[in-house]
Symmetry: C2
Subunit: 203 residues, 2 copies
């Protein structure tokens, strides 16, 4: 029996999340289980329920970490030109999905039994990510209304997300990064070209 003061609750949480990431990188998303995590950190499965509400809670907290890592990668090395910055965001997103397909899959494809218990941290990180896109778009069209901006950012970024999804799904883009990057490039170029072309705005 592990002693009671060996690790604090916070340490336990940290260990469990770390172990989870290790298990996922070894056995894939479907290889993650409470019993494996428990064994890896030297506790029994029941103890995990002192730290997490349930399995989905563990996954959510894992996703929070993943998302903030992604956000970090995207927000660093800012380019001056808004156009190139948007492209950079798309490539970052894609590269992240390609480098950590399992964590990415868990982040965007996991279905919680009770979606209501999504931690705020995760929702905030999503918002922060979308704001990066909106800021860049604003620079391209300073006169654009807030509402149109939101729709446009949503549309464009959904597109990038779709490319990442289908890249990992494997069939489209031969599942390789380069051809997916080509798709991001194509989408970005045409979308931005259309959006900034004189005449009517298409929000």
């Amino acid at each position: 029996m592990a002693r009671r003061n060996d690790h604090s609750r916070e340490q336990l949480r940290e260990m469990a999340l770390l172990a989870s990431e290790s298990i996922i990188s070894r056995d894939g998303v479907d290889g993650l289980s409470t019993r494996k995590v428990a064994q890896e950190i030297g506790y029994s499965a029941g103890t995990l329920y002192q730290v997490f509400n349930n399995f989905d809670d563990l996954v959510m907290q894992l996703n929070s970490r993943t998302l903030s890592r992604l956000q970090l990668q995207m927000s660093q090395q800012q380019r001056h030109d808004a156009r190139n910055r948007l492209k950079h965001y798309g490539y970052c997103y894609l590269r992240f999905a390609h480098q950590q397909p399992e964590l990415w899959h868990l982040l965007f494809e996991h279905r919680a039994a009770n979606p209501e218990q999504r931690p705020e941290e995760l929702l905030n990180n999503i918002d922060a990510l979308f704001n990066l896109v909106k800021v860049a778009l604003t620079e391209l069209q300073p006169t654009c209304s807030e509402n149109d901006l939101t729709v446009t950012a949503n549309s464009l970024w959904s597109g990038i997300h779709g490319i990442a999804v289908l890249m990992l799904k494997g069939k489209l883009f031969d599942g390789d990064l380069q051809s997916a990057e080509q798709a991001v490039n194509c989408l970005m170029n045409n979308f931005i070209q259309g959006w900034t072309s004189q005449g009517e705005r298409h929000a």
Copy 2:
């Protein structure tokens, strides 16, 4: 014990797939199980393995049906104008996802343990769907090369797919159909506008 000549193999398959769809619409994707299907058709779980290689095989065959239904919806009521046809495809795709979220989720989000055993029928249906898009794009740019056409169709359709994914995910677009349609409209307008604008092509 169900009698041996009560149903042919093909009938059994049909019954199982029908029962599966019924279970999914009642209990959701995660409510689908071999035992439930077996019970619903009056056989034991083991018998299913005479008709399906495994659970994933059943899901794949279910997905084939779903996809061909989607393809049917998309290919009917063809509009003459290529631009409007593309939009129609997008709306169809979105509406289908919205009306049958569980089957749609199973179709695009299910991860087979062994992805190699995807039935050809499913792959063919995917190709057929993409061809609709490519044909419409060709009409917009008859001089476009086959390679550029493929990249463009992939990019555009991935974008539509991404919107559908995030609509069902619930957070973006408030999870409602109307605002997702707005996003499709935005993406389509800007993308097509950019792609058909004079000057450089962005494949």
